[in-house]
């Protein structure tokens, strides 16, 4: 074996922490001065490495380390306690809010204030009311929505077979039609489907013919004489 091979073995043995080289290597060291010099240099090098590493890690521990850690542990404990307390308060507040919301929801929405003019105009009148019939399949959007409950999907207008009727005073009919068209802006199909039929029964107002008697002309003087 050449010197190079022995030197590799030497380094491996030193890196493994072996105290003395193997027998064959030791025999070579006795005969080769260069390898012996190499071995001694590396024994010193590995010793210095070990001493250096030990010096790195065996520094005296500061006396303040544990006491400061304990102080900070107490702070963590206190913060945890505060955190738990604040979450308990927050949970309690959330529960109160939920109960209040549930109570309000059960009471139902407040009736909205109606202007006096509207109330006055909504009085039943003796006028004739025009009857407007929605077509058989085209469903009035307001009526359709009124049947839908929360969480239920929109029903297909085609599948609804009812033909709801809307009673509209004759004088308000044009306005009502306009209203239906304007509130459904963006849903032109529905607006188009809102097909209003003519009134099915319009009772013509019969007015008795006036009878006008012919005027008889008499003189004033005759009347005064009589």
């Amino acid at each position: 074996m050449k010197c190079e091979g022995y030197r590799d073995k030497l380094i491996a043995a030193l890196a493994s922490g072996e105290s003395s080289p193997a027998d064959d290597v030791a025999a070579h060291l006795r005969t080769c001065a260069e390898c012996k010099k190499f071995y001694e240099a590396h024994v010193h090098l590995f010793g210095a490495i070990d001493s250096g590493v030990r010096a790195m890690v065996n520094e005296a521990v500061p006396a303040s380390l544990l006491s400061e850690v304990r102080e900070r542990m107490e702070e963590v404990q206190a913060a945890r306690a505060n955190w738990k307390l604040s979450w308990s308060v927050a949970g309690l507040a959330a529960a109160v809010v939920l109960v209040a919301v549930g109570f309000m929801a059960r009471r139902g929405p407040r009736p909205t204030a109606v202007p006096l003019e509207t109330v006055a105009s909504a009085r039943p009148t003796s006028e004739k009311i025009t009857r407007v019939l929605a077509p058989e399949k085209a469903v009035h959007p307001v009526v359709r929505w009124s049947h839908r409950t929360r969480g239920e999907p929109f029903s297909n207008p085609e599948s609804v077979t009812s033909s709801p009727e809307v009673l509209v005073p004759a004088e308000e009919r044009a306005g009502y039609e306009q209203y239906i068209r304007t509130i459904r802006v963006g849903n032109k199909a529905l607006a188009k489907d809102a097909n209003f039929t003519d009134p099915i029964e319009i009772a013509p107002q019969e007015i008795a013919q006036l009878q006008i008697k012919k005027l008889e002309l008499t003189s004033i003087t005759e009347e005064t004489q009589e």
């Binding site: 890690v57 520094e59 521990v61 542990m73 945890r80």
Partner: protein, 188 residues
């Protein structure tokens, strides 16, 4: 006369008082380990940073991090290895940030100025060699470096390092061998 005990059916085992006692138990258990593991965390951090104040700071942070998450540790036997890894990782992060800062600041000459003062063993080896050794160690793979540092701590055998890191004894020896060999090649 028979004694009757009132039992609350609605009461569950994991009530607030049980949780409280669990927390106290974890606190007490951690406190018991602190005396042994605090210095270990400091030494690992110092082995990386070579600066006493920085190492103390990192050791404190590592211990607090371990304390906060102590209840999540399933096997308490692995506490030391867990803490060592936390301290080592945090020390490496700190070391990298220190190096970045050093590169930014002109005139900052290196680790020798950061050392807190020579120890008895530092006097034994020359400061020049020590500086070269520190640079060579910084270039080692992290797993080799950690094993080398732990094996260098007084009072810890290779078996203990193996148990601490949860790796076989053969792996510890192999890592130590390659670490020392690489250092020798760099410092030759």
């Amino acid at each position: 006369m028979r004694e009757l005990v009132l039992i609350q059916p609605g009461r569950v085992l994991e009530g607030p008082s049980e949780r409280e006692s669990e927390s106290c138990r974890a606190h007490r258990e951690f406190e018991e380990r602190l005396a042994e593991c605090g210095p270990l965390a400091f030494r690992v951090a110092y082995g990386v940073l070579r600066h006493s104040a920085d190492a103390e700071d990192v050791a404190q942070e590592a211990l607090l991090k371990a304390y906060r998450n102590f209840s999540r540790l399933r096997e308490s036997a692995r506490f030391r290895g867990w803490l060592v890894r936390i301290a080592f990782r945090m020390a490496l992060d700190r070391w990298r940030s220190v190096k970045r800062r050093e590169r930014r600041e002109a005139g900052w000459t290196g680790a020798e100025q950061r050392a807190s003062g020579p120890t008895a063993e530092e006097v034994a080896v020359s400061s020049e060699f020590q500086a070269r050794l520190e640079r060579a160690m910084a270039e080692l793979p992290e797993k080799f470096r950690l094993v080398l540092l732990l094996a260098g701590i007084q009072g810890y055998t290779l078996e203990e390092v193996s148990g601490m890191l949860g790796i076989p004894m053969g792996t510890v020896k192999s890592r130590l061998f390659f670490a020392r060999k690489q250092l020798a090649e760099k410092l030759r």
